[in-house]
């Protein structure tokens, strides 16, 4: 074959089965990765993306045991005859959680880690660390501890730690998972830049397709149930229906074009909103669709929580986390709280729930000051669901876990039974009530934690990143569930980085920046306001650009129409009539 030297990774009829499992996780994988290529691997949770990546970087079979079939060659060498360390010189991996993969005490040590293990001595060690750090613009932070860095900076450190080893293949496992929208955009730009500078092949595993396509990719490999479903260019993939069949979210502008009846073909270059070519007929269709759909706002009843002049400083006295926050939440409202990492969003939620004690200001609940109530007393009115369900679950059985709060309060067992049943039914877990929690998926665990809060019958529930790390199917499942709770009267506040979530599900968004609220408005107004987007590190929705492209002047109103259209036509029709969805 020609250009054989350029094939870095080659899988032929490859399959893999974990020792602990009864059936294979991967089947018949045929894939070639060449030098200089940029490949996106997409697929729902459980489709085998991570397993495939572990096979390529050598964790399989050297750390996770199982049976391999077919062939997997790294630079022409069969991987099972190689070693994890040998492979690590060719394939560098940036793991999903840049926080947890930080090995060193400081930035410099973390970058140096691979070199240290390779016995690189002075003076090359310091020199190469400095060069790698400069490559990702983190040179000024060499002595900083990981805790002092922002999410984006941490990721840069992880990238430098891999680049320092001169690898030929760079794997990014869900690089956008913990980043705010603007930082995510920079991360994609950084990945593209690194690839151009080093000439390495890049494999990105991510289900946030629209965000990855901010910079072009050569191919998208779509995985489903352990098989490669498609391996084609982004333009081709976005033109077909494969994405939605596999439960991957397509870019919003594509959705809008489909609603308007525009035929999407590879020739129109739909991979990015910047490249897409729409002819006059297409634009006319979009304009007509816009004019045909109306927009409405549903009215809200009384005020539930009012916060006045809230101030909070952490014990150490150094960080003034919340400054003079005043905001109110109406009964039955679904609100998103957005902003950069460290803007004060989570702190705000914790102060409301009494986890932290405010240093000034007041919190009113139905007009009564609740500043003096304890965590436990506030929990009866306001429930708080942490981001990581594993941090909340302490019982073995689902039923016991959900009953825990009531048992601690000394509620009679007969009443507990009733309230737990209601909560489990609402959360779709009644059938599984006798299961051990450990048998559940991440999304189901999340529902268990929500159920355990619901039994306490709060009127308001605050969720920290309810959909972080979820694929589109689980995301939809959780969000539809929250919408249902909201329709039966629950006031819902979501702390989130996800612009889609905010746009589609929240009535309103409160934007935090550096401990202050800089905007409090309808989501479509916020996501089309350039000033706020910049300040809060958000990202403009592609719908806005689509509107401008089609000659619609009021982009904001177009976004509003789109959301309303989705809510009316696409979502579950009437969740209240549908009742418990168990």
């Amino acid at each position: 074959m020609i250009m054989d030297n350029d094939i870095l990774v080659e899988l032929n009829d490859f399959g893999f089965q974990y020792n602990a499992q009864t059936r294979p996780t991967l089947f018949n994988i045929n894939l070639k990765v060449r030098r200089g290529e940029r490949i996106l691997i997409a697929g729902p949770s459980g489709s085998g993306k991570s397993t495939l990546v572990h096979c390529i970087n050598g964790l399989i079979p050297f750390s996770y045991k199982g049976e391999m079939t077919g062939s997997l060659k790294i630079k022409g060498k069969e991987s099972k005859r190689s070693s994890l360390f040998e492979i690590s010189h060719t394939v560098g991996t940036v793991l999903q959680d840049s926080d947890a993969q930080f090995v060193g005490m400081t930035v410099a040590e973390d970058i140096a880690f691979a070199l240290e293990n390779d016995c690189v001595g002075e003076p090359q060690l310091h020199e190469r660390v400095r060069k790698a750090a400069e490559m990702v613009d983190i040179g000024g932070y060499l002595k900083h501890a990981p805790g002092e860095l922002s999410g984006g900076q941490k990721q840069r450190v992880s990238v430098a730690g891999v680049l320092v080893d001169d690898v030929d293949v760079l794997i990014f496992d869900e690089p956008l998972a913990n980043l705010d929208p603007a930082t995510g955009k920079q991360a994609i730009e950084l990945i593209a830049k690194m690839q151009e500078q080093t000439g390495a092949a890049v494999i990105i595993v991510e289900h946030r397709l629209e965000d990855v396509l901010h910079r072009s990719v050569d191919r998208i490999v779509l995985m489903q149930e352990g098989r490669i479903k498609a391996d084609m260019s982004a333009d081709e993939l976005l033109s077909g229906a494969l994405l939605s069949e596999c439960g991957i979210r397509e870019p919003l502008y594509i959705t809008a074009l489909k609603y308007a009846g525009v035929d999407i073909t590879p020739k129109k270059q739909p991979a990015s909103i910047r490249t897409i070519v729409l002819d006059e007929a297409d634009k006319k269709r979009v304009r007509e669709w816009y004019e045909d759909t109306g927009a409405s706002d549903h009215g809200l009843t009384g005020e539930l929580v009012r916060i006045e002049g809230l101030d909070f400083t952490y014990e150490s006295g150094k960080v003034h986390a919340l400054k003079d926050i005043s905001v109110s939440f109406a009964e039955g409202e679904m609100t998103a709280i957005v902003g950069t990492n460290g803007a004060g969003k989570s702190t705000f939620a914790k102060v409301i729930c009494g986890f932290e004690k405010e240093s000034g200001g007041a919190i009113y609940y139905r007009g009564n000051d609740i500043s003096d109530l304890t965590i436990k007393e506030r929990a009866e009115k306001i429930g708080y669901v942490m981001q990581n369900p594993n941090q909340m679950i302490s019982k073995v059985l689902i039923y016991d876990e959900v009953a825990l709060g009531l048992r601690n309060r000394g509620v009679p067992e007969s009443e507990i039974e009733e309230r737990v049943e209601t909560a489990l039914r609402i959360c779709g877990l009644w059938r599984m009530r006798k299961w051990p929690v450990s048998a559940l998926s991440y999304g189901q665990k999340k529902r268990v934690t929500i159920a355990s809060i619901l039994t306490l019958e709060p009127e308001m529930i605050i969720l920290d990143e309810p959909t972080a790390g979820q694929d589109y199917r689980h995301y939809t499942e959780i969000m539809e569930f929250l919408t249902k709770l909201n329709r039966i009267g629950m006031t819902v506040i979501m702390v989130t980085h996800d612009m889609h979530l905010m746009l589609e599900y929240a009535d309103r968004a409160v934007v935090f920046s550096k401990g202050c609220i800089i905007a409090d408005d309808k989501c479509y107004n916020i996501l089309t306001d350039k000033e706020i987007i910049r300040e809060a590190s958000l990202k403009e929705t592609s719908l806005y650009e689509l509107a401008l492209k089609c000659g619609i002047d009021d982009g904001t109103d177009f976004v509003r129409h789109f959301i309303d259209f989705e809510r009316k036509n696409v979502r579950i029709s009437d969740p209240v009539a549908e009742g418990v969805y168990d």
């Binding site: 970087n57 050598g58 964790l59 050297f62 750390s63 994890l84 360390f85 690590s88 010189h89 560098g92 793991l95 959680d97 947890a100 993969q101 090995v103 060193g104 005490m105 410099a108 040590e109 140096a112 880690f113 691979a114 070199l115 240290e116 293990n117 390779d118 016995c119 690189v120 001595g121 002075e122 060690l125 660390v129 730690g161 080893d165 014990e315 914790k350 729930c353 009494g354 986890f355 304890t374 965590i375 436990k376 506030r378 929990a379 429930g383 708080y384 942490m386 990581n388 594993n390 941090q391 909340m392 679950i393 302490s394 825990l404 709060g405 601690n408 309060r409 355990s452 809060i453 306490l456």
Partner: protein
């Protein structure tokens, strides 16, 4: 929240010694202080340790929590010695000087009092040095120097990682306990000790589960970057031994020698002013 093991980066002559030097010195110093009951030497070492503490630019408030903890331990320990062996001093020093005209088993003697004084001195001579070691030793640099003095690097690195994760685990414990309190797990002083212990065990399970997740990630991250590949590795934070390191270690070795000499001169570990 108080961090128990906290490296405080405040440049000083003590900070600039290598971790291995400090570790060796700590061992020698403790051995000297524990082996002798010579009051003069213990007083000298106490004074020296306080001076060193100041040289290390560590403030009392940085270590007040640990200091308090150690004082309580010391007081309890002294009380126990007195309860179980009120005539220990008399046995050691061979005289019996009753004080305040008391009599009976628990009568206070000058010898017992002097014994306790020496006992406390041993700790006052050591505690500041232990605290100084903990607060002035950078965990990574410590790992590097442990490796240098012959400890396997995987063990040395495990020590450094453990030190690094202690603050993280403390923060997680705090978060988990707050979520637990919201669901009515009583952790405040209102609950009885037994109930609080029960509640704490409820927090332990999620803490262990989340820590296991992290251990898997970190060990993957380390292997992927070649940890364990060679029998040796280099250290970014490694520092060469310098004159000050040698001086420090020799001085501490001298202390041990003095302690041993004194026991010969005194004819035993105890300095006896009573005969």
């Amino acid at each position: 929240m108080t961090n128990l093991f906290n490296y405080i980066d405040r440049p000083s002559p003590i900070h600039s010694l290598t971790g291995a030097t400090k570790f060796v010195c700590l061992m020698l110093w403790s051995f000297a202080a524990m082996s002798t009951y010579d009051t003069r030497m213990l007083i000298a070492m106490t004074v020296a340790s306080i001076i060193l503490f100041a040289v290390g630019r560590i403030h009392f408030k940085d270590v007040s929590f640990m200091f308090g903890f150690m004082v309580i331990f010391l007081v309890l320990n002294s009380i126990c010695i007195y309860l179980f062996s009120p005539r220990h001093g008399t046995q050691i020093y061979g005289t019996c000087t009753l004080l305040f005209g008391m009599s009976g088993k628990y009568a206070l003697t000058a010898e017992q009092l002097f014994y306790h004084f020496n006992y406390v001195l041993k700790f006052t001579a050591t505690i500041p040095i232990v605290l100084l070691f903990v607060t002035t030793t950078n965990p990574s640099e410590f790992a590097a120097s442990l490796n240098k003095i012959g400890v396997k690097y995987s063990i040395a690195y495990a020590v450094a990682l453990a030190l690094r994760y202690i603050p993280d685990i403390q923060r997680q414990y705090h978060e988990i306990s707050q979520a637990g309190q919201a669901r009515g797990i009583e952790m405040s002083k209102k609950a009885s000790l037994i109930n609080r212990l029960k509640a704490a065990s409820g927090i332990l399970i999620p803490l262990i589960l989340t820590s296991m997740d992290r251990i898997e990630i970190i060990s993957n991250a380390m292997e992927l970057r070649g940890f364990g590949k060679n029998r040796k590795r280099t250290w970014y934070m490694a520092r060469p031994f310098r004159a000050a390191d040698h001086i420090a270690m020799v001085s501490c070795a001298l202390l041990v020698a003095i302690a041993l000499c004194l026991s010969v001169v005194n004819g035993g570990r105890y300095y006896n002013p009573f005969v």
